[in-house]
């Protein structure tokens, strides 16, 4: 049974009706083309209305739809070839992050991203897409390898956060995130980061420092998940939908803030309703942005990347009359 969100229900029902009618017409051999077209136009309008009115919380739930393409899905949809590489060369191979060399338009690129499972078994293998430090160390190793061979780096981000586990803490979850952020900032190759689903806090940022940061229409990216925010504010995770409003975590908000560079529009109804179409869309955006930054010399690239993050922050100088406190 595919998951159907409550706001999708009228749409899904209408679509079913249209399909039934189409089958009926086809069987009967009646010419109802115009009427069918009218109906479909109505469905389109409904779709648009529904998806334009989505609340932030609904978009968070879209980003978590179980049928939404995962990182490996996108890799298959977008690239011509993929050779997965494993291990951090220190401790383990984290299945919650995949990475390797892929081919885009005949050119090798390094692709990295957290990987969620689709069923329980796979979710256990993938630790529900929650990476351990060795996953981030693998990512870093592959990014440094990419730099050695002048390969562009593409990160596909879909992660609620770094795994909050005992062993993960033991092996330096915080430290490795900091290391990833620092190292990634200075890599002399073009980096495109795409938040495809969830962009949860430091666990997302650890592989999210790039020259272009794109976001799927219904992805979210925030310093904290709505649930955790609600827990802190009201000690009630069920008020996540209110928290989602406060956090300004949608692609629309983040584009306005200048945090991301572009929003990758999803097929009406969301990525989960059309993998192929979503893949084509992502590929088109990726191609365009990558081709732009590939023209920039490596030193310039790093300089711009640093400037980009350097200027983020909302503060103001204190007015002098407030400063009349003697030390």
């Amino acid at each position: 049974m595919p998951t159907v969100f409550e706001w999708e229900k009228p749409l899904v029902e209408l679509e079913e009706k249209i399909n039934e009618l189409r089958n009926f017409i086809f069987e009967q051999g009646i010419d109802f083309k115009d009427e069918l077209n009218d109906l479909e136009r109505k469905a389109d309008k409904l779709r648009k209305e529904i998806y334009e009115r989505l609340t932030p919380w609904q978009r968070v739930r879209m980003a978590r739809h179980p049928d939404r393409p995962t990182t490996l899905d996108y890799i298959k949809l977008v690239f011509d070839d993929f050779f997965e590489l494993h291990g951090d060369r220190r401790f383990g191979d984290d299945h919650a992050i995949v990475g390797g060399i892929a081919v885009l338009d005949g050119e090798p690129v390094t692709v990295i991203g957290p990987q969620k499972g689709r069923d329980t078994k796979e979710n256990i293998t993938r630790n529900f897409g929650l990476p351990h430090p060795e996953g981030y160390r693998k990512a870093l190793r592959l990014m440094q390898q990419a730099e050695r061979f002048h390969r562009p780096i593409i990160t596909l981000i879909d992660v609620v956060g770094a795994y909050p586990g005992i062993e993960a803490e033991q092996r330096g979850q915080g430290l490795v995130i900091a290391e990833c952020i620092e190292q990634m900032s200075f890599l002399k190759v073009p980096i495109v980061c795409i938040i495809t689903g969830e962009g949860g806090s430091g666990g997302a940022l650890a592989i999210g420092v790039g020259d272009r940061i794109l976001m799927m229409e219904h992805a979210w990216y925030s310093v904290i998940s709505p649930e955790m925010c609600a827990t802190i504010l009201w000690k009630d995770a069920n008020r996540a939908s209110e928290a989602a409003e406060l956090l300004k975590l949608t692609s629309t908000d983040l584009l306005k803030f200048g945090i991301i560079d572009d929003v990758i529009t999803e097929p009406l109804g969301g990525a989960h309703r059309d993998h192929e179409g979503t893949g084509r869309q992502l590929k088109a955006f990726l191609r365009r942005h990558l081709s732009e930054i590939k023209r920039i010399p490596p030193d310039e690239l790093v300089k711009h990347r640093l400037e980009r993050f350097r200027k983020i922050g909302e503060y103001q100088a204190k007015k002098l009359n407030e400063m009349q406190v003697d030390m």
Partner: protein, 289 residues
């Protein structure tokens, strides 16, 4: 490029004497009969004369309990007298229009006499010049919003410009400042990059972790020190212990995420008791002239 102020202001926004006289803010409560001159140790319940506590670096001499120090108290402990030159003061905006945030800022400003959760400037430690930044837990849990991120970044840039080492004393409970949302998250990138640029300039960064250093502060500049020291028993980690316990449904090890645990697992260079912190910092500065 540098945004540090060129004309040093005659005024600073800290009042060490006042903060001191106000007594101890954390880990202690007002003494018998609410006498503000005395503080009761939260650990052993002993009553301690405030001046005594101050002299003893805010360590209970009955049970060794480490009281939380405000940024100003820490500054007094570490910096040589009259050497601290604060950076241009910055104050927070409310980029998400987060309800209640401006009021919270004002309240914390009044309580701590700080502009935000950081006190930062140029200082001397036993004669060695450095940039000294101190996070104040009393200001929204010592969390990093745009102001903390900007000031830390300016600290490293100032260090590069003046060829000075940087010492940051961290102690931010939640790490990121939720109320600034994505802007807070981005400060992790900004500060980590500032550390990276500073390191490439060949300069020395000493990170000192105090109770508690967690989340986005630990996962950015605080864990990137050339040398990382910690105070005994300081909580150090990424995810909060409660979240870890809830997620894993496992019993946490008794020393989980303590400084001792971090040392055992290779994450920090050493644990330094509070009374020796100044001497240790100055020694390490002397190795990196």
């Amino acid at each position: 490029m540098l945004h540090v102020f060129r004309n040093k202001p005659k005024y600073a926004t800290v009042r060490p004497e006042k903060a001191n006289q106000d007594g101890v803010e954390n880990g202690g409560s007002a003494g018998k009969g609410n006498d503000p001159q005395w503080t009761r140790c939260d650990n052993c319940s002993s009553l301690i004369y405030n001046k005594e506590l101050h002299k003893n670096n805010y360590v209970c001499h009955h049970c060794g309990f480490y009281f939380r120090m405000s940024a100003v108290q820490r500054l007094q402990q570490l910096a040589d007298e009259n050497t601290f030159q604060p950076f241009e003061p910055l104050v927070s905006c409310n980029p998400l229009d987060f309800p209640g945030y401006p009021a919270k800022i004002t309240q914390c400003q009044n309580a701590t006499q700080l502009d935000d959760a950081i006190l930062i400037g140029e200082a001397k430690i036993e004669g060695y010049g450095c940039v000294l930044g101190i996070i104040d837990f009393g200001f929204i849990g010592g969390s990093m919003g745009s102001v903390v991120g900007e000031q830390i970044t300016r600290g490293f840039e100032y260090g590069i410009a003046k060829q000075l080492p940087v010492v940051i004393v961290s102690g931010g409970g939640g790490g990121a400042r939720m109320q600034e949302g994505i802007f807070s998250l981005m400060q992790m990138a900004k500060t980590a990059q500032a550390v990276g640029r500073f390191k490439k300039a060949g300069l020395f960064y000493l990170s000192v972790l105090t109770h508690p250093t967690m989340g986005g502060i630990y996962a950015s500049f605080a864990s990137l020190g050339d040398i990382i020291l910690a105070e005994p028993k300081a909580l150090i980690g990424f995810a909060g212990p409660r979240i870890v316990a809830e997620t894993t449904r496992q019993k946490l090890p008794p020393d989980f995420q303590t400084a001792e645990y971090a040392l055992k697992h290779g994450m920090i260079d050493g644990i330094v008791i509070r009374s020796e912190m100044k001497a240790t910092i100055s020694k390490l500065l002397s190795y990196h002239l």
